[in-house]
């Protein structure tokens, strides 16, 4: 019961947050010196009448807070409007969001599988050659600009011909069998995954190492050792369970970082994700699309944090107690 109370409280907190975010984004976009109808105005086949209709529909003749309210109403109904090319914004988003989610979840999964053990190992073997090398490697990983790394990998892909360059599927994707489809997808995902993986792995590994070192000096770990427990048990039963908690909070932030990092990576690899969508929308000043994808990105980020909080509650009894 306690558990559900906590979760519903956290979900309720999300609502005002989303309202503030939508107000901020809406005002930024609408107060900008961008004419949302510029593209329509330049089109000679569109009559003044149609333009007036569009102005009425977007309520551009009304003050900005009325525009916001009408936008919010239709957003809640799931009507996100049309892109400047005339497509439905919601269809566009439905196409792109799963791709970004796929990429980021693979990356998060892999960084955890690799980063946590590496961090533990580096902490346990503190000051050894292994630890020092890892520190240097992770510094390098954190310093490469994602787009530059992506470009280097593109060169590699073309020179070796091992990986396809760009996109998510081959042109003849629909002709493949199920297994063929899977491998085709996997092949296209390798390079973007490597870029994001390298960048987020470095941070995760360092954080894990730092947390582990922190609990390493605590009394309960010393006590566990003094009891004569095996080193394995000390690490995994006592130290790790405490060191992992801050990492779960970090999961939410990692997700945020990935969404941002993914935008540039998606751009370089021509990966059809949310980041590239918002970039294209921004370049075309497609206001409806920008607004909708900004909201979707925010919702994804908030959900990521929410999931992290719930996970933390499951693993850390202290959080359950205080809340």
């Amino acid at each position: 019961m306690e558990f559900f109370k906590y979760i519903s409280k956290r979900i309720l907190q999300v609502i005002p947050l989303l309202i503030i975010v939508s107000i901020i984004s809406f005002f930024i976009i609408r107060l900008a010196p961008i004419d949302p109808l510029a593209e329509l105005r330049l089109n000679p086949s569109i009559s003044q009448e149609t333009l007036d209709k569009e102005i009425k529909r977007l309520k551009l003749d009304k003050p900005i807070y009325i525009q916001y309210i009408s936008w919010a109403k239709s957003f809640l109904k799931g009507d996100l409007g049309y892109t400047s090319a005339g497509e439905k914004v919601s269809t566009k988003l439905k196409e792109r969001i799963p791709n970004t989610l796929l990429l980021t979840s693979i990356v998060v999964f892999m960084t955890w599988i690799v980063g946590i053990p590496l961090g533990i190992f580096a902490a346990v073997k503190k000051e050894t050659v292994f630890d020092r090398t890892l520190t240097v490697v992770s510094s390098v990983g954190m310093a490469i600009p994602s787009f530059f790394f992506a470009i280097l990998l593109l060169i590699f892909a073309v020179k070796t011909g091992w990986f396809p360059v760009g996109g998510l599927t081959s042109y003849n994707f629909n002709e493949f069998s199920l297994i063929g489809k899977f491998f085709d997808l996997a092949k296209h995902l390798v390079l973007p995954t490597v870029v994001l993986f390298t960048i987020s792995l470095s941070g995760l590994q360092r954080q894990m190492r730092a947390n582990m070192l922190e609990v390493w000096d605590s009394d309960y770990v010393k006590f566990a050792r003094a009891k004569g427990l095996s080193e394995f048990k000390v690490i995994f039963k006592h130290a790790l369970r405490n060191a992992i908690n801050p990492m779960i909070t970090l999961l939410g932030f990692e997700f945020a970082g990935l969404l941002s990092g993914a935008a540039l990576t998606e751009y370089v690899f021509q990966y059809p994700g949310l980041g590239r969508l918002i970039l294209e929308a921004v370049m075309k000043s497609d206001i409806n699309l920008v607004m909708a994808s900004l909201m979707m990105g925010t919702i994804m980020l908030i959900l990521g944090n929410l999931i992290a909080d719930i996970l933390l509650m499951l693993t850390d009894p202290r959080v359950r107690g205080t809340k």
């Binding site: 503030i20 390098v140 954190m142 070192l213 918002i278």
Partner: protein
Amino acid sequence: MREFFAKLFQDKFARISFFTLVVLYLIILFANFIAPYSSSYSNRDKAYAPPSKVYTIDEKGKLSRPYTYNYIREFEPTLMQTIYKQDRSQKYYLKLLPKVGGKRHLFGVQDGGELYLLGTDINGRDVFSRLLFGGRISMTVGFLALLIVFPIGLLYGGISGYFGGIVDTLMMRFAEAVMAIPSFYLLIILAAILPTGMTSVQRFGLIVVILALIGWAGFARVVRGMVLSIKNEDFVSAAKTIGASNLRIILKHILPQTTSYVIIAMTLSIPSYILAESGLSFLGLGIQQPDASWGNMLKEAQEFTNIFYRPWLLTPGILIFIAVLSFNLLGDVIRDILDPKSQKRI
């Protein structure tokens, strides 16, 4: 202070990084003098010329003063491509401290010669010189953004934490909302709505402001947390009893306590501004041509032909990498010194 630097230089990585950064900043400070070409130089006949080769041994195998050959552009009909060939008929010797257009440069080449140490770009501009001028923007953008972020973040966090209650709740909800928007998405949107037709100085200033708008919220939140714990200390109550105003207590008594965190946060966040600026400019939303920044120079690397046949266009990426790496390594060591609790690298 002296103790701090002594500790800093004990660390090998910190020493190297510090030295690298000092060299980088000296180079961009004296860019006008070191760069062989001015920032407005452009040789339209030599687009994408490869790096000039500098020889110190002449064709007879003897040691010689350093010299170089010019490139001549030819059209290869079978490949349907423009190619560059060395014009071996004329040697051009390198000169130390020559006077070009009334200004002295560190080095140059004899009249009529062309010296492109890192080749040229699409407009026939010298990549090496542009790297130096671009560094001026890329390496300072972080510091300038911090000049905006810190006062805002300190004051915002200070007020929020000190007053508490409804003020705190409202201010923090707003900061959280800013943080909830994926930062890079917000960044590109803000950059995209900048009006066109600004001077390059105005544009640079606004990019700095935008970067600061993204960064202040997280910083303010941490300051608020620190203020919450500081405000119950005795010296704050003492200041209150003698009738100090709220603003005075925040500015003079509470915020100075956060200094060491501020320094740590500062060094640790500079790389993220450098990366953000280069990412923006890479997308064409940041610093605009003809001004150079490391990010917008890399924009040319978006084309396949460029990265395969003109690898010298990738050099700005290496410089971004070196700068960010140095700041990161330095930041790690500074954190260890100022904040003994963190044991990241000990």
